[in-house]
C-alpha cells in the first residue's frame, strides 16, 4: 500500500493514476467488499430470490446496507412504498460522501461523465480516496478514484454470484459465517463513528429496531430509523438551542 502511494506521488497522467487506483482497490477495499458481496449473495439465496435478481441488486444499487434493507423488507412482506422510503433513507449518506469527495477533484475539459462515475462512490472507494487525495496531485485524482471505484464495482458482480451459488451447495458451517459477514461489518464500522450524536442514533435505532421488529416487522426499520433518528436529532437540537442562552 505504501509503495502504491509512493508511485502515485510520481505519477502524472490519468492512465497511470487509473492503473494505480485499480491496484490500490485490489489490495485495500477489494477483499472486504468482495466478502460483503459474497455474503449478500448468500443472503439473496436465503430469502428465495433468483441469482439474476440478487446480482442485479448488487450491480445497479451497489450499496450494501440499502441492498440488505431491500431484501430484508421484501421478505418481511413490507409494502413497496415503505420499502422505497427505507432504501432511499439508507442511501442519504451518499449525498454527504459525494459532497466531500468530488470538490477535491478539479474539473478537466475532457473527462468521463461525473453523473455516471458517481455510481462508483461507495464506502470502499470513498474511504480510500478521502485518505489519499491530500497526498496526490489534484489533476490525477479523478483517474485514481475511477480505478478504485471501477475495480470494486466489478468485483461486486462475481462476488454476489459466487456467494449465491456456493450457499446452494456448501454445508452449514460455510453458510453461517457468510451471512454473518455483513452485519458484523456494519457493527465493527460503528467503532469509527466519532460524532457522539451519531453514536447515540446507532444505539437508539438499534434498540428500537430490536423491539419493533417483533411487533411491527414490516415497518420496524422506518419507525426506528426515521422516528428514533429524528427523536435523537430533535433532543440534541433543543439542547443546543438552550445552551447559549443559559
Amino acid at each position: 500500500m505504501d509503495q502504491i502511494l509512493q508511485e502515485l506521488k510520481d505519477a502524472d497522467t490519468f492512465k497511470q493514476a487509473f492503473r494505480l487506483g485499480v491496484k490500490a482497490g485490489l489490495y485495500g477495499p477489494g477483499p472486504v467488499l468482495l466478502a460483503g458481496m459474497i455474503g449478500f449473495g448468500a443472503m439473496g439465496h436465503g430469502v428465495g430470490l433468483s441469482v439474476l435478481q440478487t446480482t442485479a441488486i448488487s450491480t445497479f444499487m451497489y450499496a450494501l446496507p440499502g441492498q440488505i434493507v431491500f431484501i430484508e423488507m421484501m421478505s418481511m412482506g413490507a409494502s413497496s412504498s415503505v420499502v422505497a422510503i427505507a432504501v432511499a433513507l439508507t442511501s442519504t449518506r451518499f449525498l454527504t460522501m459525494v459532497l466531500t469527495l468530488f470538490p477535491q477533484i478539479p474539473k478537466a475539459r475532457k473527462e468521463p461523465s461525473r453523473m455516471l462515475s458517481v455510481h462508483l462512490v461507495a464506502m470502499s472507494a470513498w474511504a480510500y480516496c478521502m485518505r489519499d487525495f491530500p497526498k496526490i496531485k489534484p489533476e490525477i485524482r479523478y483517474g485514481y478514484f475511477l480505478g478504485i471505484g471501477l475495480i470494486c464495482w466489478i468485483l461486486a458482480i462475481p462476488g454476489t454470484i459466487l456467494g449465491y451459488v456456493i450457499s446452494e451447495y456448501v454445508p452449514i458451517w460455510v453458510t453461517i459465517p457468510l451471512v454473518f459477514v455483513n452485519p458484523l461489518f456494519f457493527l465493527l464500522s460503528f467503532v469509527d463513528v466519532v460524532i457522539p450524536l451519531n453514536r447515540i442514533a446507532i444505539i437508539a435505532g438499534g434498540i428500537a429496531g430490536a423491539i419493533f421488529y417483533q411487533i411491527y416487522p414490516e415497518h420496524a426499520l422506518l419507525i426506528s430509523g426515521l422516528g428514533f433518528g429524528s427523536l435523537v436529532y430533535g433532543i440534541d437540537y433543543f439542547r443546543r438551542k438552550r445552551k447559549p442562552s443559559a
Binding site: S80, S81, V87, V98, V174, I176, S224
Partner: protein, 120 residues
Amino acid sequence: MNAFESSIAEFGWWAILLFVVLATYFWRGLGVLLAGHVSQDSELFKWLSTVTYALVGALTFKLILLPIGALAQVPMIYRIIVCCVCLFYMTKFKSGLSRGLILGSLLMTAYGLFLFYQST
C-alpha cells in the same frame, strides 16, 4: 393500496428494483449537482446523518439478534458473544476492521462445524 403500489403490483418485483435503484442513485446524482454549492454543517445534513445512522443501527441489530435463515441456527447468546469479542478485539488492540471480520468469521465457522458434526 395507493396508485403507486397498484402500479408496482402490475410490474412486479423488477419495478420495485428499478424504483430502489433510482432512489439510491438520486442521492449520488444530487451530490454531483450540489458539489461545491452547499455547506455540510447545515441542520438538514445533521438530521439526515442521524436518521441514516439510526436506520443502519436498527438494521444491524435486527440482522444479529433476529436473523432469518442459516444464522438463526446459531443461538442468540453465541451471536452476541462473537460480536462482543470482535468489538473488544478491534478496540483493545487497535486492529483493522478486516482482522475483526476474520476473527468473527472463524468463530462462526467453529460453531457451524459444531452443528455440522453434531447432526452427523
